[in-house]
């Protein structure tokens, strides 16, 4: 591998890792979607919101950094997808805007819209955020309707290099069953993780029992949807590219081939699936710390899936209307200089993870009690 190819792979790994961490941290969204399902009393709802309220900023920041890292390392994706699948991204952003203010405003005096409205906002974000993000990520495998023509820059009348081939601007992804299956799977996974997180961080036995009961239902549905998606994914055609000339072609069982060609990624996926299952089972049996195997497992699974989307000469953002316009890590990345510069910056990530771990431990060392939930913050 020459220098730029190595760095393209490295940055696809980092972007995938951020995406995987985002899916784990979306237990915050999963928890929001369960406010009324799990919280039977106002006190319980306050505990649930306090538990996720300490973490929403991390999820939010991971999303923003995911966007920033994608922009810096693969600007053609940022330009093509955000400018084309306009409505999907705008809806995702709106969900996150509502979330940001709702945690802070919901219990404040004079909040204009009332506590219930802000909690409905949180629930909307909890359902639509993971569903839309999952559906949008689904297009990494099923493709999207865009055209890229860099020579358009030389046109005085229409110098825009990329455009979307339909007027739905990304909403059409929701009509592709495979995308929808992934969206629903992500939503259900966030709800599973939320139940496990609540069991770990809230010291209220009644609420823990409710969470365990809910965990059984969410886990069953998650497995049903995710395994259906996984089987279809393994059997699907994928978009591959020729290293010699960059041309795109369809390949049967592309993602299965990717897993077989990259044993480390296959191992990552397998270990991840086992860890998620372990988390579910041990959580159901009452182990308080089951969020950790399930959380780490979900990071592994999502990371493995995203690596399969971009590595091994795979087009990570295929165009279904103009396949030769499909985006690969080779044709959409930043320059060697920028990738190298950004790589030096990325060496700070372990330090960032270390202080996040310290803060997480400091705040979650003792479980949340009803008294704490009723304190003013």
């Amino acid at each position: 591998m020459n220098d730029i190819s190595l760095l393209q792979h490295y940055w696809w790994f980092l972007v995938s890792l951020l995406g995987a961490l985002l899916v784990f941290l979306m237990f915050v969204q999963g928890g929001q979607s369960l406010i009324w399902t799990l919280g039977r009393t106002e006190e319980q709802r306050r505990m649930l919101l306090l538990a996720t309220g300490r973490k929403w900023e991390l999820t939010f920041t991971t999303l923003v950094t995911f966007g920033g890292a994608f922009f810096a390392s693969f600007p053609l994706f940022y330009s093509t997808s955000f400018g084309g699948a306009y409505w999907v991204w705008v809806l995702i952003l709106l969900c996150f805007v509502l979330q940001a203010v709702s945690y802070e405003f919901q219990l404040k005096r004079g909040n204009l819209l009332g506590t219930t409205t802000y909690r409905i906002f949180l629930m909307l974000n909890g359902i639509l955020g993971p569903l839309l993000i999952g559906t949008a990520v689904g297009t990494f495998f099923t493709g999207a309707e865009f055209v890229v023509d860099k020579s358009a820059v030389t046109s005085a009348s229409m110098p825009v290099i990329s455009h979307w081939a339909n007027s739905l601007h990304g909403l059409e992804a929701a009509f592709v069953p495979q995308n929808l299956l992934l969206g629903i799977s992500v939503l259900l996974l966030t709800r599973v993780l939320a139940c496990l997180y609540f069991i770990n961080s809230i010291g209220d036995s009644a609420l823990q029992l409710t969470c365990r009961r809910r965990l059984a239902i969410e886990s069953a549905f998650f497995l049903l949807f995710f395994l259906t998606w996984l089987v279809r994914w393994l059997c699907a055609y994928g978009y591959a590219w020729q290293p010699a000339d960059g041309s795109i072609y369809m390949e049967e069982y592309k993602y299965l081939h990717n897993l077989l060609a990259m044993p480390a990624v296959l191992a990552l996926l397998s270990v991840g699936v086992v860890l998620v299952l372990c988390g579910m089972v041990t959580g159901l049996r009452g182990w308080h710390r089951a969020i950790w195997p399930a959380g780490i497992g979900s990071v592994f699974v999502v990371l493995a899936l995203l690596l399969c989307a971009g590595w091994n000469h795979t087009a990570y953002y295929p165009s279904v209307v103009a396949p030769q316009c499909s985006l690969t890590i080779a044709n959409s990345s930043s320059s060697l200089f920028t990738l190298r510069t950004m790589t030096y910056v990325s060496f700070i990530i372990p330090f960032v993870l270390a202080y996040i771990a310290w803060a997480w431990r400091a705040l979650d060392r003792t479980p949340i009690t009803p008294e704490e939930a009723n304190e003013k913050h």
Binding site: F82, F337, T341
Partner: protein
């Protein structure tokens, strides 16, 4: 859609301006108030006095209410570079994306991790660890400002990059030049120090409100003392960096300077307009010989503009007409091209790029590349239809500049006055009202500053390189119109909610006792 609809450009600009202006209602208060509350908590840790803990916690409560809205509007702003300015994202994403990613890794995580400790960690970590979390939250917020202002400064004065005709984009070749360009350093210092001024004005304004009501007087006096010293220092830094910023504009964005000064006909030994009213019917875009004053009246300080812009009393400052007509001497001794000449060379550069991409043999490629390189400095001009497009909205820039400068001077006097009066201020009802009513003026100055910076550089998304018309996403205008109104309604509603919550929190005042303290 085979041609760009100009209304799409206008609506895309309107949406970005809306988001940016709402975002900038919250960010300066975060940056300014953050430092004030961190100073107060530092005093608490040093002295152990419970009073300072309660004081810091009160300002922290207001900080939190405001912070959420800043975060909410900020995420939209970042992603709008992709959703509404997709061509821009490709054309300069290789350079512009890096500061955004570094902002996320270095600053956002610091901010978001430690703000949770700051709010929820009072009884969970030691006093010193909590103080560190408070400082790290505000350092994270300030670092975030650094990187986004680096990105903005680069758009005002693009450096450290080279155009690559094979990838059809600009690529970074010197990270240090981008991250530490003198324009970025000055912009950061000016913007952050002006945010500190806003935070300080907010603190003294709320404190004076308590003095007017005769409530929380010890708290109010203590807060005024801390904020007034901090605000005075910040206001003086703002004035100094404002001067440096003006010099940068004179060098790199002379049209912005001309618009901010209402300078149609330039020349040597030009005076600085201290105040005045522009003629409503003035035609700023015409290049027909026109010596008629564009002012209904104005007061001018002789030679001051030349002195400030060139550091010479008889220095040459070009006006709007000169910038369009060219022919005046540049600082390096060369003669300036006219707008028409720049546009012609820009069209040559674009045509050369097209030839380069079509060329099948090396000789044709080399010839096209040579033409492209020779004319690339004017590449962006090739997308313009007429020299008139180069003139920004003069009245808006002119008046905004004056609002910013006058209010900046006023805040220096305000803070100095509060420090001189000390506790005697409580007896001066009129002055107390004046300080309370100054709070919205701080926001007005802050917004006016951004209007000068952003409206003044139109029509450029990136100065001289990419005009807005070539930077947008190819969307239906109706889509952008719809999202514009969605954001308008949502942000306005949430702003009203925030103001109401702030009002209630201020009315409730600081707590005098906290359990588990």
């Amino acid at each position: 859609m085979n041609t760009i609809d100009t209304s799409l450009v206008d609506w895309s600009r309107a949406q970005f301006a809306l988001t940016a202006m709402y975002h900038w209602l919250f960010v300066p208060l975060t940056l300014g108030l953050g430092i004030v509350m961190a100073i107060m908590e530092s005093i608490y840790v040093r002295t152990g006095r419970e009073f300072w803990k309660q004081t810091a916690r009160f300002w922290m409560k207001l900080f939190g209410i405001n912070f959420a809205m800043g975060v909410a509007t900020g995420i939209i702003l970042e992603f709008e570079f992709g959703t509404n300015w997709s061509n821009y994202s490709w054309f300069v994403g290789d350079i512009f994306g890096a500061p955004l990613a570094i902002e996320g890794i270095l600053a956002f995580f610091m901010e978001s991790t430690f703000i949770a400790v700051m709010y929820f960690g009072w009884n969970k970590v030691s006093k010193r660890a909590h103080l560190a979390a408070t400082w790290l939250t505000i350092i994270g917020a300030t670092l975030s400002a650094w990187w986004i202002l680096v990105a903005n400064a680069w758009m005002q004065h693009p450096v450290g990059m080279e155009f690559n005709p094979d990838t059809v984009r600009n690529e970074m070749v010197d990270f240090t030049a981008v991250a530490f360009s003198p324009v970025a350093v000055v912009k950061f210092c000016h913007t952050v120090s002006s945010s500190w001024v806003l935070g300080a004005v907010f603190v003294v304004g709320v404190s004076c409100w308590y003095l007017l009501r005769g409530k929380h007087t010890e708290f109010a006096h203590a807060s005024i003392k801390v904020a007034a010293w901090f605000g005075l220092a910040a206001a003086l830094i703002t004035a100094h960096t404002g001067h440096q910023s003006g010099r940068d504009i004179a060098l790199f964005q002379p049209m912005k300077l001309a618009a901010a000064e209402g300078l149609y006909n330039g020349g040597t030994g030009r005076g600085l307009v201290l105040g005045g009213i522009l003629r409503p019917d003035a035609d700023w875009t015409s290049t027909a010989a026109n010596e008629e004053s564009k002012f209904l009246f104005h007061i001018e300080c002789p030679y001051a503009l030349s002195l400030l812009a060139t550091h010479k009393a008889d220095g040459y400052v070009p006006g709007i007409r000169n910038l369009q007509e060219g022919g005046y001497p540049l600082p390096d001794g060369a003669i300036a091209l006219s707008a028409e000449e720049k546009m012609a060379r820009g069209r040559l550069a674009i045509a050369a790029l097209a030839d380069y991409r079509k060329a099948t043999d090396e000789a044709s490629k080399a010839a096209a590349l040579a033409t492209l390189r020779e004319n690339f400095d004017y590449f962006g001009y090739g997308y313009l239809k007429s020299p008139a497009e180069l003139v920004p909205n003069v009245p808006l820039t002119f008046y905004s500049f004056r609002i910013m400068v006058v209010l900046g001077g006023y805040f220096i006097v305000l803070f100095a006055g509060l420090l001189i009066l000390g506790k005697k201020v409580a007896k001066k009802q009129l002055l107390l009202w004046g300080v309370v009513l100054s709070v919205p003026l701080a926001w007005m100055a802050s917004q006016a500053g951004w209007v000068v910076a952003e409206v003044g550089r139109q029509p450029w998304a990136i100065q001289g390189l990419l005009p807005n018309v070539a930077a947008i996403s190819r969307l239906e205008t109706s889509s952008v119109q719809t999202t514009f109104f969605i954001f308008l309604v949502l942000f306005t509603l949430l702003l009203l909610a925030e103001l109401r919550i702030m009002g209630k929190a201020i009315a409730a005042g600081p707590e005098t006792h906290t359990p588990n303290a």
